[in-house]
Symmetry: D3
């Protein structure tokens, strides 16, 4: 969840980027006191996300919005659904339309793709999580979109979770040394996760006392064996690497606890949503 102040600043920068000195076209063709009605329409199926930045765009432009049909993050839609309706001042609504949609379409795209992954593993005891492969400055919004789509969040960033990767291991002098250094240095409220690529490494990580083991790019069989090395002693297992909609269920069936998917945030196509505006007399 993004702090309101942070979101306000993001929207402000987005409007500065698109409006700049002014929206020439609207200033010259639309009267300041004209009102209009806006309808958000689905032109395809998906899951909604980005409701807060959408409204905030118009709010920052003082569009005097009256929402007659609200919308909620996480709700699903199909083609031709009326997702929301509102009225307000025509000038700021026309000026903000594109920016508002740019937020809504991108984030709904993330939620929608996440939802497809979540449905693909339905019935299995596994979490679909995001990664840190997010659009710079959209980390919090995209992580929320993943939750709206039914997924779960991995750590937020480098500051709120320990995840030891291959170079950290090498720098620390091996798996055991890396786990110990991390454990000793972090405060007592944090667990330690370590990335491994072979079964042998996985066994070493479990022996070293890792709380969580990330199985990177393993085949299903190895993954299953890896999970067996520590699952019953409370070790948590995460699968990562080359996960697609086609193979995600197979990965899930290996018994891992989490599957993290970079594509959720870095390759989701924009949701097909439009904003139909009608001038009111």
């Amino acid at each position: 969840m993004m702090r309101p102040g942070h979101l306000r600043r993001l929207v402000k920068q987005a409007l500065r980027e698109d409006v700049g000195s002014r929206d020439i076209t609207t200033a010259l063709t639309v009267e300041p006191d004209s009102a209009c009605k806006g309808v958000v329409l689905a032109k395809g199926a998906g899951v909604l996300s980005g409701v807060m930045p959408f409204w905030m765009v118009f709010d920052q432009l003082n569009a005097d919005i009256d929402i007659t049909e609200p919308m909620a993050d996480g709700s699903t839609f199909i083609r031709d659904d009326v997702i929301a309706e509102f009225t307000g001042l025509a000038q700021p609504i026309l000026t903000g339309e594109r920016t508002a949609l740019n937020f809504l379409q991108h984030l709904s795209g993330v939620a929608s793709l996440t939802n497809q992954y979540v449905k693909a593993v339905e019935g299995l005891d596994v979490r679909i999580t995001d990664t840190r492969k997010t659009t710079p400055l959209f980390r919090a919004l995209e992580k929320d979109a993943v939750v709206h789509g039914g997924g779960r969040n991995h750590r937020q960033a480098l500051y709120d979770g320990v995840l030891i990767k291959d170079n950290h291991i090498r720098a620390a002098g091996g798996i055991a040394a890396a786990v110990e250094k991390a454990r000793e240095g972090v405060h007592h409220l944090m667990r330690v996760e370590i990335e491994v690529t072979t079964l042998a490494q996985c066994e070493e990580a479990v022996r070293a006392g890792a709380d969580v083991v990330l199985l990177d790019n393993m085949d299903s069989e190895t993954m299953r064996a890896a999970v067996a090395t520590g699952h019953e002693h409370g070790v948590v297992f995460e699968a990562s690497g080359n996960v697609t909609l086609d193979n995600v269920r197979t990965v899930a069936e290996t018994g891992v606890d989490l599957i993290s998917v970079g594509a959720l945030t870095h390759s989701a196509p924009a949701a097909d949503l439009s904003l139909e505006i009608t001038l009111l007399d």
Copy 2:
């Protein structure tokens, strides 16, 4: 082209987002004076973009980068290509790796998709251009990426071009009135573009003296007829709406001067690039 100061601020915010108070893992497992080598590798084909923010990430982290194999925006790559090589301090390189790649992969994704559209219309006298459907705060970077991929830019934003759409027309009291109001109000260095959806509207726009006419969602035949209404008198024609890699050549063959494609920036999957890091002794 983004102002250097603007880019610096974007990178700074991106690092604040991902590093926050600190990169706990790296701080605890890697020595401050360790050095490493980094290699940017292609795991698929495409066109590069985002070189400036990539290096700026490490620069802002004081990684003391020495580039041994430089890379250039706009260069093409295929799977397994070594795109760049450099050495530097291990701690900041590991801390910045993900943020640097997030920029490079997203922008190279945009350049790569653009390039596919450009190739699809090869030999025809038409420009593939972007739209304002960009990721908020990435307008300038994504528009540069479009150029790196061989495309051309549309207006940058609402402040540097007049584009009259349906609601503006209605608010102004018709096509002729809208064109006149815009012409009268803008400074003498700007042209006036107007969006139409029918041939009749197109004719009216040309008569009204529009410099550019945007043909929205027309079929090929109508588009061809529309182009005929004013091309020889110097009117410029832009096609827009539902353009895909499959139909873009057909659209181009109608004789339009520009084809604008929202997907270039809102639905390009991340380019498959990785950063392989090796610790140096």
Copy 3:
């Protein structure tokens, strides 16, 4: 037109500059709940501009202003006119008085001087425009003031218009090359203007397809001849350089379309306006 957020920030910085840690005098001599009446008075004739920053100063100081006699940008005034009346809290009004007047007097000075130029060419088909010779950070406000005075705006800045000057021409390798490079590089909604100082250059510029030609520091006769080189083919002509209230009509009579005057913004004396404050019991 300045974005509201941008204006707010300008006013905030202006108040920080003048109030700093606090207005010692007012804090020590005026009770926090005292109210007062304010009257904006003209002590000379002119045209008003700067109404928005004027009120915003008091608004940011939470002066609880009630406007009993509003004022409007662009209205004319003569000596002893009551321009506006309002009531509010005495402390913030006394604290903000000078900053509010500094905006209003400077901008009304610009509007008033502009108005004198506009009146000097009354009846002729020519625009008086501003230049980029503005007070740093006051570009948008001063350009608005020019409009309030009856003038027209030139391009806003370097980003929204192409104007090729002598050094650009030399760097590009001549007039024709410069025009072509600019035409090829800008997006399709922008015209290309080029500056010339001789009739021969003007002819070359028109041949090269320049949309607008700036005639720099020419005498009237040459200017008239220059205008004849392309006016009938739709080329626009701008006069610039050493234009004064005395010679502006002569310049206008050469047939140029625009006359740009740096003095409008860089040498307008402050309008003579005062704010009379009366404490209310």
Copy 4:
């Protein structure tokens, strides 16, 4: 004297204002590695001010400036003087030229006008000072310009000096009460000044123990009498209101210690300076 950080920010905002997304013309017509020579030329007489922001503009644009003939604030110049010479990269110099000159011409205008007032009272024991009637955000730069022109500064702002005006007096319950409240409340390093308009008020202010008395809009005779009420007891007298180049010497001859002149900063015409640029091969 402005803090360097504050000046840097002012210049940064000025460049953002004028360059925005980019200087289109220069980007399209000048090669990135072209060099040029710049010469600052006087086209009239005056006193220089604004040297720091002038160079800082080019510095922030990374123009790689080499100053071959430096210039100094406070130096005088006459028509056709070469004020400074430098070489550097052509692109950033062409981009920054206007912004750099906007600073230099405005501030040199202030210094030059100040200098005329200072010369008008030459030989008399009186200070010409500025007021708070400055261009918002240019307080420190304009106050420096006044010093460069030979003038002296009044208080910087509301936070570093006490100046009790008519409304403060009324609010405090009279001259004596106002002086006492101010004296009691300010820290021990500050003097108390009070504005009066009549001789009687002046006598009351001196009796009340005011350190400085501002004589507002008095005729010469009254002023002379006012000065006599306290000069020999160490009270300082300031004259203000309707001071012009024509009457300033008469005002000075009344024996006042300071004459403050709003026009120095709010109505100084820009100094006539130009920057001649020559491309180097």
Copy 5:
């Protein structure tokens, strides 16, 4: 007194520091619409300061606070006093509790310690003042706290008062030279203070025309003699250095006008205040 905008920014940064991406615990355990009652309780005796930042914390978190029992800066409290009561939304109140208390406890600590010094010199004609030994970024708030505790402020900072210390004296070439340079350079509303360590220096300072003399680290006898050198001619004397609650009255009895104490702001322990929160059904 701190400008409201400055305080808002300080509180915003404080909340960003403590809340960051979000208050995980509260988000997961408390319902968004839960309300609660808050009671500020004293667990020891003291003087209150920091009321504005305390409320502003909750205001910025949109806690919808209703103050049922207000509190005022400068009021005294003893153990078990109910200092304030309010109701509001439980989530933001729990999130802001610690930050709000961090302000209130620190500033009340400063006010409380100041008050002990003030009481220690009760009945004597002397001011207890603060110094510039404040917590960075808390200058204005801590100086207000000193006033709330009954103390007086010294200059706010380096910009609003002249205080010549030993190195300035040496650099200027002696006491007389330093005083003269300062006097000549400052505007006419400022006094000049100089620091001395011996009686001889004090005499020289008084002769040089210093308005205020700071007696640094002198014993009582010397101080008394120093005061005698100029007190009757209007010179003000300040004592400083190694002043404690034990010796402050002795110092005061030497006849100095001010005693400045660094410990007021750099070594005041936090006041023992707590915030008891009760959930409302």
Copy 6:
């Protein structure tokens, strides 16, 4: 560890606060090219912290510092120790002296007090940790100072650790419910801590699966019993509330793993350090 960019901004704000428009005294009495030597001296015993902000103050003022005797965070000092030596420009060193010392003395005060607590429990297997009772905006610096003094950090802030307190418990519907909600909601790399005040609550918390239990304000006997409820099953115990230098060893002997002490950061007196400056010829 504070991000360098964050520290730079803090120092910048601190200098803006103390220097403002300028250091009048130094500007008027010291020549710009004077050099000086600075020596940091201990006037009492303690542990050093704040070295980075100390140097950064002079760096931001461009003092051209040459460190001839460096100092290191965490080093101990006794009265009369020379802690550091350096040379540089006299003007910026005199201007920055107070701000630099304000950082160094406050942070060294925190490190020194922490060190006393750490020594008081020497030989016992327990961590002395800080709390969130820090000076707003100094969280990271004060937490570093705690480490320099030999202590350990608790969570950084609300975003990187779960700590369920009494109101969270009540809002969630009991200890078990609160632990479960937190566990379910946080990402897999975070532990869950809960605060209890009685033995019964402690038992319930352990049964509910809390990873860490905070024993608030318990007497030693109860604490010992509380520790026994879960220590052998890996539950971590933290003691908090009314811990002083006198009783901290007794608390430690109950077997708790951590003792958190608010006074470390909210009530540490400034370390007695001075900066002796000598002008160089």
